[in-house]
C-alpha cells in the first residue's frame, strides 16, 4: 500500500465509521427504530406479507359496514349517488359499460384489507382496528359472492385461501409489441385522405348527467 493511500485511509477511519466511508455513504439520516417502522408499516401484499394477527366474521363486518360505510357505498355496496360501487358487475368486463368492482375486477383480496386499513372510512382514515378490517373485508367479499357463508370468519391464518374471480385477468404492459405499428411509420403529408367529415361532437358542458351515466374519472 502506498504511503499516501495509508494516510487517506487513516483520515477516513478517524472522520467517519468505516462502513460509511467504504460504501461511499454520506452519513445522512439516522437509523429508524423498530417502533417507528412498525407504527407506519401498514401495507399488505398478496403473499400475506404485512397481514396482522386478528380476525372478524361476515356478520360482524355487516354491522360495521352499515354504521360506517353504507352512507356512501350503499347498504349492499351498490354505491350511493356517485360514490364508488363495491360489489356487483360480475362478468361485465367485456360489456359496453363494464362495472369494475372488487368482485368483478380486483385480482387480490389483500388489496381490500390494505386499502381499507390506510384510507377508509373516507375522512377518518386509520381509525379501524385490525379485527374490524378483517370483518369488513369478509363482509365486502360476501357482498361479492366470494364468501358465501355468513358465519365465515376471516383472519390472518385463512386469508390466503381467498381467491378473486379476476385474478388471472391481467397481463404486463405489452405496448411495445402490441402497438409496434405506432413506431417508425412513414407519415403522409399531402393529399392523405378524402375530405374529412365530422362524426361526433362534444356534449354541451353545462348539462349535469343524471346519476352514473356521465363519464367517470377514476
Amino acid at each position: 500500500m502506498s504511503r499516501s493511500l495509508k494516510v487517506v485511509l487513516a483520515v477516513a477511519l478517524v472522520a467517519a465509521p468505516l462502513a460509511t466511508a467504504m460504501a461511499g455513504k454520506l452519513g445522512l439520516g439516522r437509523e429508524a427504530t423498530p417502533e417507528e417502522i412498525k407504527a407506519w408499516d401498514i401495507d399488505i401484499r398478496p403473499d400475506g406479507h404485512g397481514l396482522p394477527p386478528g380476525k372478524g366474521s361476515v356478520k360482524q363486518g355487516e354491522d360495521i359496514f352499515q354504521a360506517q360505510c353504507a352512507s356512501c357505498h350503499g347498504e349492499f355496496g351498490e354505491g350511493k349517488d356517485r360514490w364508488p360501487v363495491l360489489a356487483g358487475g360480475l362478468g361485465s368486463l367485456k360489456h359496453d359499460r363494464p362495472e369494475k368492482t372488487i368482485g368483478s375486477f380486483w385480482p387480490e383480496a389483500s388489496t381490500v384489507f390494505d386499502y381499507i386499513k390506510r384510507a377508509m372510512p373516507f375522512g377518518n382514515a386509520q381509525s379501524l382496528t385490525d379485527n374490524e378490517i378483517y370483518a369488513l373485508t369478509a363482509y365486502i367479499l360476501h357482498l361479492n359472492d366470494v364468501i358465501k357463508d355468513t358465519n365465515f370468519e376471516l383472519g390472518q391464518s385463512n386469508f390466503q385461501t381467498i381467491k378473486l374471480p379476476n385474478k388471472d385477468g391481467f397481463y404486463d404492459d405489452d405496448r411495445e409489441v402490441a402497438e409496434k405499428h405506432f413506431w417508425n411509420r412513414k407519415v403522409c403529408m399531402t393529399e392523405c385522405k378524402p375530405e374529412a367529415k365530422v362524426t361526433g361532437r362534444a356534449q354541451v358542458l353545462d348539462v349535469t348527467p343524471d346519476g352514473k351515466s356521465g363519464p367517470k374519472v377514476d
Partner: protein, 436 residues
C-alpha cells in the same frame, strides 16, 4: 373574482357558471359592505377596453402612482388575468377531496406551468404537512433502515430537472367520443415544472439495498395513504425526491414538503407528501395499481404496469375556450410531450388530416418535458379541422383516436394519447369534434 362579473366567458369557458356567478356577486356585496366605497367603485368597473385609456388620451396609469413595493410581499398575477385559473367539472366525482381540476393550457405559453396553475388530483384532499415534523422512512430489504428529516434530505447533492407530469386519466373522458369543450378539460391533467431535489438512488444507497430488492412501495402521508409499487430499475435510474418546484417550495397541492418525481411515468406514481419507502422483492398490488390505473381492453383482460406515458400533443390555441377572434394573421400554438424521450417533430393539419405541415418548435426541447410548437398562418375565415401529431426520439408517432381504439377498445379510461380534433367555424367558434 369581482373583476370577472362583466367578462364574457369564451364559449364553454365556465363549467359551473351558475355557482361561479353566485360566488362573484356575493364577493362584490362583501366588498361594498366593508366600507371601501372607492375601492368597490373601482372594482365594479367593467374589465375591457376603455377608450379614455387609449391614444390619443393619456391613460390613468400614466398619471397616478402605482402600488409601493411592500403592497404585495408575494406577487400575484395582474387583476386582468383573474380568469386564468384551474377549473373542475363538479359532476365528475362525488367529492372535491377525491377529485381533479385542470390546468388552463389555453392561457399558457412556453413550456413551464406556473405553480398555482398546476392541476390537482387528490384522493383524500390536499394534506397540510409541517416540514418540521415530516419524516421519510426507508425500510424493508435494506442493510440499515433509515429515517430522514427535511433538513437531512436537503444535505444530499441536489439536481434540477424539467419534466411533465401527466395523469394517466388525462383525456380519459374522450375514449368513447368527443365529450368536453376545451383543452383545459380534455388535456389539462398535465403540468410541466422544474424540480429541485435529490436522487432517490442516493437515498437508497444510504440505506444499502439487499441483493433481493426488486420493487419499492412508495407511500404518501395524506389521508389516502397513497401507495404504489415502483420497479427498482426505475428508482435507481432517474427518480427524484423533490422539495422545490420552479424554484420555490412545492405547493401544498403538489405534495409540500416532499414528493416523488418519476420522469415520463404516469402521474399517480409521483407520490405526494412522501413518507415511506419500503423495499421489497415483489409488487404490492395496491388499489391504485389494480382497481385503478390498469387498462381494461375489449377482450375483458387488462394491461397492468402501463407506467410510461406515450407521446401526445394538443393545439391549445385555437381551442374551444380560446377561439380565433380575427381573420388574417394568426398564431396557432400547442404543446407536445413524450414519456419515452424528447419530442423530435410535430405535424399540424388544418383540413382534418388531408394535408399536414411541420410546426415550428420553439424554446427548450428537453427529455420528457413539454415542448412548445407554433404555426404562424393567415386564416381566410374558412372552416378548419385542426389536429397535431407528435413524434418522439424513439420513433413513436402519435396515433389517431381510431387507431388507438382499434388496439385498446373504449373501456380503457387511461392512457388516451390519440390525436385531438378542433373544429373552427367561420365565426371563430371552436368545438371538440371527432372526424372520419
Amino acid at each position: 373574482m369581482t373583476d370577472e362579473t362583466d367578462r364574457k366567458p369564451a364559449p364553454g369557458a365556465s363549467t359551473n357558471r351558475r355557482r361561479f356567478l353566485t360566488g362573484t356577486l356575493a364577493g362584490g356585496a362583501a366588498i361594498a359592505a366593508s366600507g371601501g366605497e372607492a375601492f368597490a367603485q373601482r372594482k365594479r368597473k367593467p374589465i375591457g377596453p376603455n377608450p379614455d385609456n387609449q391614444p390619443p388620451n393619456v391613460p390613468e396609469w400614466s398619471k397616478v402612482l402605482g402600488d409601493g413595493v411592500a403592497s404585495h410581499p408575494y406577487g400575484k398575477p395582474s387583476k386582468f388575468e383573474a380568469h386564468v385559473v384551474r377549473r373542475d367539472v363538479e359532476w365528475l366525482t362525488a367529492s372535491r377531496e377525491s377529485s381533479i381540476n385542470f390546468t388552463p393550457l389555453h392561457e399558457l405559453d412556453g413550456i413551464i406551468t406556473p405553480n398555482g396553475l398546476c392541476f390537482e388530483r387528490h384522493h383524500g384532499g390536499a394534506a397540510v404537512v409541517s416540514p418540521f415534523d415530516h419524516r421519510l422512512i426507508i425500510h424493508g430489504l435494506v442493510d440499515k433502515p433509515l429515517i430522514f428529516s427535511m433538513d437531512d434530505i436537503k444535505r444530499f447533492p441536489r439536481t434540477n430537472r424539467v419534466h411533465f407530469l401527466e395523469c394517466a386519466a388525462n383525456s380519459g373522458m374522450e375514449w368513447r367520443g368527443a365529450q368536453l369543450n376545451g383543452c383545459q378539460f380534455t388535456h389539462g391533467m398535465i403540468h410541466n415544472v422544474m424540480y429541485t431535489g435529490v436522487l432517490l438512488k442516493d437515498l437508497l444507497n444510504e440505506a444499502g439495498l439487499k441483493p433481493t430488492a426488486k420493487w419499492l412501495q412508495v407511500e404518501g402521508a395524506d389521508s389516502s395513504g397513497m401507495n404504489r409499487s415502483l420497479p427498482i430499475e426505475k428508482a435507481l435510474d432517474d427518480c427524484l425526491i423533490a422539495f422545490k418546484m420552479n424554484g420555490e417550495a412545492l405547493r401544498t397541492e403538489q405534495g409540500y414538503p416532499l414528493r416523488l418525481v418519476v420522469p415520463g411515468w404516469e402521474g399517480n406514481l409521483w407520490v405526494k407528501w412522501i413518507r415511506r419507502i419500503e423495499v421489497g422483492d415483489k409488487p404490492w398490488f395496491a388499489r391504485e395499481e389494480t382497481s385503478k390505473y390498469t387498462d381494461l381492453m375489449s377482450d375483458g383482460r387488462s394491461r397492468r404496469y402501463t407506467f410510461v406515458m406515450d407521446a401526445k400533443s394538443v393545439v391549445t390555441n385555437p381551442s374551444p375556450q380560446a377561439p380565433f377572434t380575427a381573420k388574417g394573421r394568426n398564431v396557432l400554438t400547442g404543446v407536445a410531450w413524450s414519456g419515452r424521450g424528447h419530442i423530435t417533430r410535430v405535424d399540424v393539419t388544418l383540413d382534418g388530416g388531408r394535408n399536414w405541415r411541420e410546426a415550428r418548435i420553439d424554446g427548450p426541447v428537453l427529455d420528457r418535458s413539454m415542448t412548445r410548437f407554433y404555426v404562424d398562418f393567415d386564416w381566410a375565415g374558412n372552416e378548419l379541422l385542426i389536429q397535431s401529431r407528435a413524434h418522439d426520439s424513439t420513433g413513436y408517432v402519435q396515433p389517431t383516436k381510431q387507431e388507438l381504439r382499434a388496439v385498446r377498445g373504449v373501456n380503457n379510461i387511461y392512457h388516451n394519447n390519440g390525436i385531438q380534433t378542433w373544429l373552427v367555424r367561420a365565426n371563430g367558434e371552436t368545438e371538440n369534434v371527432e372526424i372520419s
